[in-house]
């Protein structure tokens, strides 16, 4: 079952972590076959937020909300069950200074009963 692990933390603390550690952790996850996709994000000062209301596009500088901990990256994983997903989340290096939100992926189902199946970048379903 697919889960997203959203990595949150205070930017100063996450920023202090060595990229090498994150890279080797990520490689390990992929080797295990549990990681479908993952990225680290640039700091929130590079963020821009878009809202469309009544046909008008509003663009603001910064993240959607000013919070102490900000989104720093994510992992899309395929785990046996929640316990397995939590185990993976606990091993993500920033878990030690920030927190990881683990949320199951929702299969979109159209009113005709058809499930939404997306091929990934390599064309795999």
């Amino acid at each position: 079952m697919k889960y997203v692990c959203l990595v949150y933390g205070e930017e100063s603390q996450i920023g202090a972590m060595a990229d090498d550690d994150c890279m080797s952790f990520d490689a390990g996850l992929r080797a295990e076959g549990v990681c479908l996709s993952s990225e680290a994000l640039q700091p929130v000062r590079t963020s821009t937020t878009v809202r469309v209301r009544n046909g008008r596009v509003a663009i603001t500088d910064g993240p959607f909300a000013e919070t102490k901990e900000q989104l720093a990256g994510f992992y899309l994983i395929d785990a046996r069950d929640l316990d397995h997903a939590l185990e993976i989340a606990a091993s993500i290096p920033p878990a030690e200074v920030g927190c990881i939100e683990v949320r199951p992926v929702r299969e979109l189902v159209s009113t005709t009963g058809k499930k939404h199946v997306v091929a990934d970048v390599q064309g795999r379903k």
Binding site: M1, R80, D81, L82, D83, L86, P104, G113
Partner: protein, 416 residues
């Protein structure tokens, strides 16, 4: 296996229900993978038993019969639903794939299911409120109304908590299993916490005139025994011991008029000696593992009281020493308060009062009625009657329980 009358069959089915329904439910939850489906299937199975045992006689293993019947009815229901909702066929495959081995039907296998159910209901991914409510509902079989009464909330609030918890188990795919060894210590801690919460609700009702609810405490002790049987860990021994030792006071804890009787005034001849013996043996066993946690320490304190002939003959110095250890293991103002009361017994009311005032002046336990009643008692013993009256009034303002209020009012009237 001849024909038996309807009334007799009903009696037998009722007996089986009382003795086995929880374990049957736990196994059906595992086999069918869904709480509500399992509950429905179990009720259908018992209904079928009422009909068929009359004609065919009572089976030699009623539990196996009921589980088998429940499983088939559950699968049937899933098939019917899949025709309407287009749900995943693999769910039905899993339920059918699990063949019921006669070997699986031995007691141990089914008790494992109860353990799996307890751990699932107490999963840390569920909110703390939800864990207790779900455990009481699914493991202990309490009704929503009974749970609401225990936790001072409306049945609708409890119902909502339970529905949400079941939805989370399903949607986030919380697995139905006993945790792996490395996760066990933390997960067991959560379970023990819920069990003790249930026990405490039974031991002293939070409001109203019933001082105790024997059935909840009995349930908690039963859960403790189930846990101990499958996980003979020292913390489990400690908790079960603590519950047994506290429960052993039940016959002496309230007077004929339903009034509160303090430990120091209880008729110790009324204490349940079998429970005390069992509790003491368990705490000794826990200590021998050299892994002594907070429950075991609290049990040791309870054991000291249980084995003393009177309040005067109690080794208060030893009890204070145990509280010192407990404070290191689990620092909390309530433990500090209990230690202060023991210090008062060992060193005199002045020493105890100083400790309690220190806690209160830090701003802790201001809303805890027992802190004020303890302060009141010590002030009374020291002849500081104005302070005593003020504290009794504060305590009264903070408790709604009938017997406790009557006790405090009586004490207050004695010095007014």
């Amino acid at each position: 296996m001849g024909e038996v009358g309807t009334a007799q069959i009903r009696e037998i089915v009722d007996q089986v229900y009382r003795a086995e329904s929880r374990r049957i439910l736990a196994t059906l939850i595992r086999l069918l993978g869904d709480f509500d489906l399992a509950e429905e299937a179990m009720h259908e199975a018992f209904a079928a038993a009422m009909e068929q045992w009359q004609a065919d006689g009572v089976p030699s293993n009623p539990r196996t019969w009921l589980i088998s019947a429940g499983r088939f009815k559950g699968i049937d229901t899933m098939r019917r639903r899949s025709r309407f909702e287009g749900s995943a066929p693999e769910v039905i495959e899993n339920a059918e794939g699990e063949r019921i081995d006669p070997a699986e039907m031995i007691d141990k296998g089914i008790e494992d299911d109860e353990l799996r159910l307890i751990f699932t209901c107490c999963h840390p991914a569920l909110s703390a409120d939800a864990r207790a409510a779900l455990t009481l509902r699914e493991v202990c079989g309490l009704t929503t109304e009974e749970i609401a009464h225990a936790f001072l909330t409306k049945p609708s609030a409890i119902a909502q908590r339970i529905v949400r918890a079941k939805a989370k188990i399903r949607d986030a795919n919380i697995p139905y299993q006993v945790p792996a060894a490395r996760d066990l210590p933390d997960r067991l801690d959560t379970v023990l916490h819920v069990v003790y919460l249930v026990f405490n609700e039974g031991y002293s009702a939070s409001f109203g005139d019933a001082l105790t609810r024997a059935d909840l405490s009995g349930e908690a002790i039963r859960l403790g025994r189930v846990l101990l049987d499958l996980l003979p860990e020292p913390d489990v021994m400690g908790l079960l011991s603590l519950m047994l030792l506290q429960e052993s006071h039940r016959p002496a804890r309230s007077s004929d008029t339903g009034d509160l009787v303090l430990l120091e005034h209880q008729d110790r001849d009324l204490w349940n000696r079998d429970m005390i013996a069992e509790g003491v043996a368990l705490v000794e066993r826990a200590f021998s593992t050299r892994r002594v946690g907070p429950y075991t320490l609290q049990a040791a304190i309870a054991a000291m009281h249980a084995e003393s002939r009177s309040s005067e003959e109690t080794d208060w110095a030893e009890i204070v020493a145990l509280y010192d250890l407990l404070l290191r293991a689990e620092p909390s103002p309530v433990v500090e308060l209990n230690r202060a009361v023991a210090v008062a017994m060992r060193d005199g009311p002045d020493a105890g009062l100083n400790l309690i005032e220190a806690i209160l002046s830090r701003g802790e336990l201001a809303e805890y009625h027992l802190a004020h009643s303890a302060r009141a008692d010590l002030c009374r013993r020291l002849g500081k009657l104005d302070d005593a009256r003020a504290s009794y009034r504060k305590a009264l303002a903070l408790t709604q329980q009938g017997p406790e209020r009557r006790f405090l009012e009586r004490r207050l009237s004695e010095i007014t």
